[in-house]
Symmetry: C2
Subunit: 521 residues, 2 copies
């Protein structure tokens, strides 16, 4: 048995850290990693036909497992294609070990056509960047990448030089990384938060990140039940465990005026894994910081702290720990019960999907404007997970669905997908088909960048004319999503009425594999 090469050692390091799924779009410089897959069958490698699919899928996988997937990207341009969804993953604090192949170290000075500054591209969307340029450093650098991804719950970009991949590396045991535990919060912050809650002033617990899982939500619900404190989620969240039997929580809204109104009379905002609320964009004459002047902000727990522990301490401090949990009851919300029929609107489509959410479904919501009412309508649906676009970089929905489905093969994934956003990473449909994933994609086909039509007004543009309108409308020609999906091997159907949508969802949920429904609005 000869020595392993660097690519095999990288594979072994990932496997030693329980990273056994790799989303990939490889090129020549990654061929040794690809070849290593044959000798490391424990590593599941999933091909995407575009790198934005790869990184978005890694995000979906990481959100559902709380463990990193690996990616495999080809040089600077391949990384560049994956950056938009890495941006979203970074904002979601999803751990990913993002492997980018580069030219052999000695080849870089020749400035071959595909050469670029990979580090400069990687840094803005990475929490950690490192390079393995010799076979015998691969294990150490890869271990550091794993540690950083786990401890920072973020993006580790590991650049692997081709000669480090193909060169012989020393063999030997690889130690699993032991990440530091999540820090506990300070008692004086707990005391300050508890005091604010007891004061009788208006207090909001603003929850973000992993505070939106069922267990911490239940604790927050106990606190809200015995005090006057309200609980709210950030606008865009990595994953909310919700539905019947869980503790419900409202979200802040995207439109800036709605957020300002929601926070207007708050005296104390207690941040638990959430950021201080800011405008998604700057709008002329409106603030960037959305916390009102009189409001005190207490950062009880930062996103990487032990959020459940923080809430437990706060519950103790306000005598809420013994209180029975507040659980959402299930509602009878079958499409028949809500008696919808006829032509679909975005809202009725949301009602119907909400009424039919299967138990333990995973909702990947990139519906942008069309799906805004879904969250409210689905509050009493069977228990499900709700994943959102976190970084504002559109084109995440269907890739996220792919990764979630690979993480949770026994659950139904529903992508609520705006049409404009869906086009950015439309290649994800092929991965749904290739892997036979249980993903139902619901396209809200309004044939417009509808959000921009509203944003034109928000940024102070009054009337606009034909030239501008041509940048906001995508109706000429109209996209035929059924044709596009079938072209990538995904069964698809068009829904023009409530009855169509109901029957299409039933068909999809009654069978395995991917399905696309174009909801014509």
């Amino acid at each position: 048995m000869s020595n392993p090469n660097g690519a095999e050692r990288l594979c072994d390091t990932l496997l030693a850290n329980d990273i056994d799924v790799c989303f990939a779009n490889p090129g020549t410089s990654e061929m040794h990693f690809v070849a290593a897959l044959d000798r490391r069958p424990q590593m599941r490698c999933v091909l995407g036909l575009f790198e934005g699919v790869v990184t978005g899928a890694a995000d979906g996988y990481g959100r559902m497992t709380d463990r990193p997937a690996a990616t495999l990207l080809h040089l600077g341009p391949g990384l560049a294609n994956g950056l938009a969804n890495l941006h979203n993953a970074r904002r979601a604090r999803t751990p990913i070990v993002n492997v980018v192949g580069d030219h052999a170290t000695y080849h870089l000075p020749y400035d071959a056509p595909l050469t670029s500054d990979v580090e400069s591209l990687a840094r803005p969307m990475s929490d950690w960047v490192g390079r393995a340029d010799k076979p015998d450093t691969v294990v150490d650098v890869a271990s550091e990448a794993c540690r950083a991804a786990l401890e920072r719950s973020g993006i580790s970009t590991l650049i692997l030089a081709a000669d480090a991949a193909w060169g012989a590396a020393p063999d030997g045991p690889i130690h699993r990384v032991q990440p530091a535990p999540r820090p506990s919060v300070e008692q004086h912050d707990v005391d300050e938060a508890a005091e604010a809650i007891r004061s009788g002033n208006r207090v909001v617990l603003l929850l973000g990140g992993r505070a939106l899982r069922a267990e911490p939500l239940e604790v927050a619900g106990r606190i809200a039940a015995v005090t006057d404190a309200e609980m709210m989620a950030e606008n865009f969240n990595q994953r909310i465990e919700r539905g019947a039997g869980r503790t419900p929580i409202r979200k802040l809204a995207y439109p800036i005026d709605a957020t300002i109104a929601a926070l207007a009379d708050v005296d104390t905002l207690i941040l638990i894994g959430a950021q201080r609320p800011v405008g998604f964009f700057a709008y002329p004459g409106k603030p960037s910081d959305l916390v009102p002047k009189q409001c005190r902000v207490v950062e009880l727990a930062r996103p990487l702290d032990d959020l459940k522990g923080a809430l437990d301490l706060l519950a103790d401090a306000v005598d809420a720990s013994a209180r029975p949990p507040t659980h959402q009851s299930i509602q009878e919300t079958s499409p028949q019960a809500i008696a919808l029929s006829g032509v679909l609107t975005a809202d009725t489509a949301c009602r119907i999907v909400a009424a039919m959410v299967p138990e333990h479904a995973i909702i990947c919501d990139e519906s942008v404007t069309s799906g805004r009412s879904f969250y409210a309508h689905s509050e009493a649906a069977p228990p499900h997970d709700y994943l959102q676009l976190t970084g504002g970089s559109i084109g995440i929905g269907m890739p996220l669905g792919a990764g979630a489905a690979i993480a949770c093969p026994d659950r139904r994934v529903i992508c609520l997908q705006a049409d404009g956003s869906g086009m950015y990473t439309v290649q994800a449909l092929w991965t749904h088909a290739r892997e036979g994933l249980n993903v139902t994609t619901v396209i809200f086909s309004n044939r417009a960048y509808a959000i921009l039509q509203a944003e034109m007004k928000n940024v102070g543009v009054g009337q606009h004319g034909r030239n501008a309108d041509r940048m906001l409308q995508i109706d000429d020609p109209a996209l035929d999503w059924v044709s596009i999906a079938r072209g990538m091997g995904v069964e698809a159907i068009r829904a023009e009425t409530a009855e169509d949508l109901t029957s299409a969802l039933s068909a999809s949920f009654g069978q395995s594999g991917p399905f696309l429904i174009e909801v014509v609005l």
Copy 2:
């Protein structure tokens, strides 16, 4: 009449420099630029449904006009999506004014979800990066961006803060930039090159960039005709003017062994707008520098020099100026004449397309492995332009075709498109349809990353098994390109035989607008 805003001043600066086409995928931070289009109808704005389409189209436009188009991209992630084709454009030395909107300057410190380090992302794929963060600096910064794009024949990335776009800017005349002329070459380099040519040793004139246009090629052809010097083009070129009535030129090949063989016995390599040949990738045991040891390299003219002037001086020095030009004669190469019928191979498909190239067609070649024989087969086709993937970042073909068709609306554009590469920017088909572009896309559907199957061997991987093979095959499921194209509004047909392909090409060339032919291999 109130003062214009910064966005309007940017538009005016571009127009003052004859930049009147903008390829765009805007978002909220670019809404004032979009609104400005209504008041500046001279600016033609072309929407792409993905940023890689936008930048690839700007490349195609710039290659055909030698003038920059503008782009309009949304923040860091929008730029990131456009980087792969900016990389190709930069390697092609195509001038582009790449406009990237950013948050309002005062909003950046709040780290809103879409915030990122735009400069860090832009630098690796830009020749110039600048930021306009106040309305009254927009004209100056934009003028510098135009100057840099023109003088460096490169990518100027202009970051436009939203508050610079919406704020009132001082009015006044805008001066057109006067770029410095292209430098002349040094006489001693001419003398050295001439001496090498006269020596009787084996000399190759290696031409790149704008040296491959008809006029400089004709001069190079005169030199080759009166001396023993050979002429060759680089492997990947921005644009070659070729076909009947032009001076033919061979190209270096992609496979490294073929390039090494082609240069093996060369005594002097004279670079005229070309780079010293290097391996596209590093391969174990093979050199990076492909110039053989005994070979002297004379850099007669760098890519940004006056290449036609350099060749004129060299022709004078070797008494070739008076010689009549060497012109390719036209050949009778109708499909009937070459008598092809039955099942298609990649080579027969190339022969048929070559035999049917319409006069003044523009070929955008991203056929990767399948189309390698097209260049030889089309040598005697009617005069046409031949554009290639320059930077190795796949996903350029159909966007390039869009830009070329907008630059040259009266000419037929033919995209020779590999299937794997085509999927990266498949959204380009929608732009073909929306703008009614005369683009015929020929998909070589081999359902594989065929180039990687060969590269596996080149990098020293012997046998590979099922896991690796799953990363190289895209046949499960097979893509149905006809369905995908129709879904984006492009007429499409499948060709399984030579007769099918001939009749489909005839149909497309006989009508206006886009058309896609899936050649099933």
